[in-house]
Symmetry: C2
Subunit: 372 residues, 2 copies
């Protein structure tokens, strides 16, 4: 979509899709107390060269999710020096999330779907293991158990806040999301976003097609078997995220904070318990909804009648090149950045704006990166 004058905003939040529902959803959140939940996981799929920019080089992707959540909870990383960066040195969107959490004083819980490296901060363990390489088949061993335990966590967390904001960090996540969507019959080819400026659609499609082939799964064959779709061509984050929403959205609104990967999570929830989707919206960034190399709306409308909100974050006038790069289409979203920004604006009833947020992000950028 193009952002013209006709796009409606509340505070600095764009009602990007399904405007009336989006407005109603956002109205409910104003002044209320959110709980930010960050679901993390890692896979071998992320290490296929060219798939992920969530790490300086492929092997480092194992450290990106734990480092991201350390940044959220501690204000700095412990398992790596500095912060996670793309191969070009552009910093993690966790910088945005952390700034929003700090400004709005939001409580935060980390949930692991399955990790190779554990974060050095408290995290909810669901008994999951890191995912394999989808080209080898059976990438997630215990998707059903992860989903079940995540549902219990979601039920309990829903009693601790007025609403949940759930974000994620899993390198290679748009590829495994594409896998789950194709297995479940959602036409997402060429529609998923990328953290790179040049979206490697061909490589993602080729990778997923190899995964589907070795698992003997045709397009749409697993429309009613989301657990098998995750096991064959997905990742442990999707199972954990879907379980959390499944457990929580019965009781409180849930803002699913992410980009096109949310399509895979939405498809899984839709197959398990479509009723809870009445209490769900997608919260993302302006960079995702203006991304010409992807189509979030085109994915979501195939699945469910869910609104999309987007934080109107703008780095074009930042004094730091590493932040201005976001405007050129690098990174775009992740670690629930858009949703956390929306929640910060809603909680503060608009007193946190895109400008105050940018100033806080720049302060943290300066402290963590520019001074190195």
């Amino acid at each position: 979509m193009k952002l013209g004058e006709r796009v409606k905003k509340i505070f600095d939040v764009i009602l990007a899709h399904n405007e009336l529902k989006a407005e109603a959803f956002l109205e409910v959140l104003i002044g209320k107390k959110p709980l930010f939940v960050c679901v993390i996981g890692t896979t071998e799929t992320a290490k296929i060269p060219g798939i992920s920019a969530a790490g300086k080089y492929p092997e480092l992707t194992d450290y990106t999710p734990p480092a991201d959540v350390e940044l959220l909870l501690l204000g700095r990383c412990k398992c790596i020096t500095g912060v996670p960066v793309t191969p070009e040195g552009i910093p993690t969107p966790a910088l945005i999330t952390m700034s929003a959490i700090k400004l709005a004083n939001m409580p935060t819980i980390v949930v692991s779907g399955g990790l190779k490296i554990n974060p050095r901060v408290p995290f909810l363990d669901l008994g999951g293991k890191p995912g394999g390489d989808i080209r080898a088949g059976e990438t997630v061993q215990n998707a059903e158990e992860i989903l079940c335990r995540a549902k219990i966590a979601g039920e309990n967390l829903s009693k601790m806040a007025d609403y949940l904001v759930v974000g994620e960090s899993i390198p290679g996540g748009t590829t495994t999301a594409l896998g789950v969507m194709l297995a479940m019959g959602i036409d997402a080819k060429g529609k998923v976003s990328s953290s790179m400026p040049n979206n490697p659609h061909e490589l993602k499609i080729k990778t997923v097609e190899e995964g589907l082939k070795i698992s003997k799964v045709e397009f749409g064959a697993l429309a009613k078997n989301p657990m098998k779709a995750i096991s064959c061509v997905g990742d442990p984050m999707i199972a954990a995220f879907a379980g959390l929403v499944h457990g929580a959205a019965d009781k409180v609104p849930v803002l699913m904070a992410g980009g096109t990967q949310m399509g895979a999570v939405l498809a899984v929830i839709n197959a398990i318990n479509p009723n809870v989707l009445n209490n769900v919206a997608i919260g993302t960034t302006r960079w995702i909804i203006t991304d010409k190399s992807a189509d979030l709306k085109g994915i979501i409308t195939q699945i469910a009648d869910v609104p999309i909100l987007a934080a109107d974050i703008d780095f074009s006038r930042s004094k730091f090149e590493g932040l201005r790069a976001y405007e050129a289409g690098v990174v775009k979203e992740g670690v629930g950045a858009g949703g956390a920004a929306i929640a910060a604006m809603a909680k503060s009833e608009g007193s946190i704006t895109k400008d105050t947020l940018l100033r806080e992000i720049e302060r943290n950028y300066e402290r963590l990166i520019a001074s190195k």
Copy 2:
């Protein structure tokens, strides 16, 4: 103490010590929203024959804490069949906690200090490992790190509720608590409770003295070094529990739900940050405060000016022998049973009474045990 007519109660909560402070603390909780946190851990110390009754036989103590929290979150155990029992077959106090949580619809979070067997429900991992046998020295390897991470968890959890109720489940816990207290100069010999009707004080003291000797620690030598006290003769639960209270009690009241083990936790917090103890009370059961083989008050008064509340639970007229056994001094407390009962009464503004609680406990007893 003896419970005479002169003991003051609010609802079915006994103001057992430091009456004015206890009353003021309880008043603040009425109608408010608690979060129940259960800290679990296991040690090799618990497997010394005769030390612990938290399991049918010593090796089973590894399964008791995970089974206890499964009961809290699922209403049944998964890692064992039935529920944890003493060697005589008397059921776990988690039955009381679970009933209180259910009646009052309290959100619950499990925190692991270090476990041999993980529960099959979500739990907050702090990077801790199970404790060793204190007679071999260096039982907890990373007490400082567990405490630090627990503090971060406590800070975040304190933003999600009006107050916290923190309970624990760790077999052999009164022995390791005795160890920490003696190392820190608190005269707790002959004062800690037991889950057995005949409190094995001699064995506990002998075990701790062996631990102190091998660690070359004299009585009181570690008064200002609580982390070393935990490392030498403590357990991982104490580090996690103390960190949680340290992180949370700055912001919200914390009800420390347990018996004489709370003395060790209190001593650790008192050495780190005594200020937060103004926002803390101990919540336990009537069985602990009437226990003639132990002296909770005699321990607490050596450490800090903290009030004690006790749930006036009474099983003497229960139709089940396994519950009536509690009146003979078996089990007494654990898994935050007393504190959870107090929170349920306070949250419901007294509409949950000792009688409604007993009926719910009996219903769960019947479903889980009597029908086997």
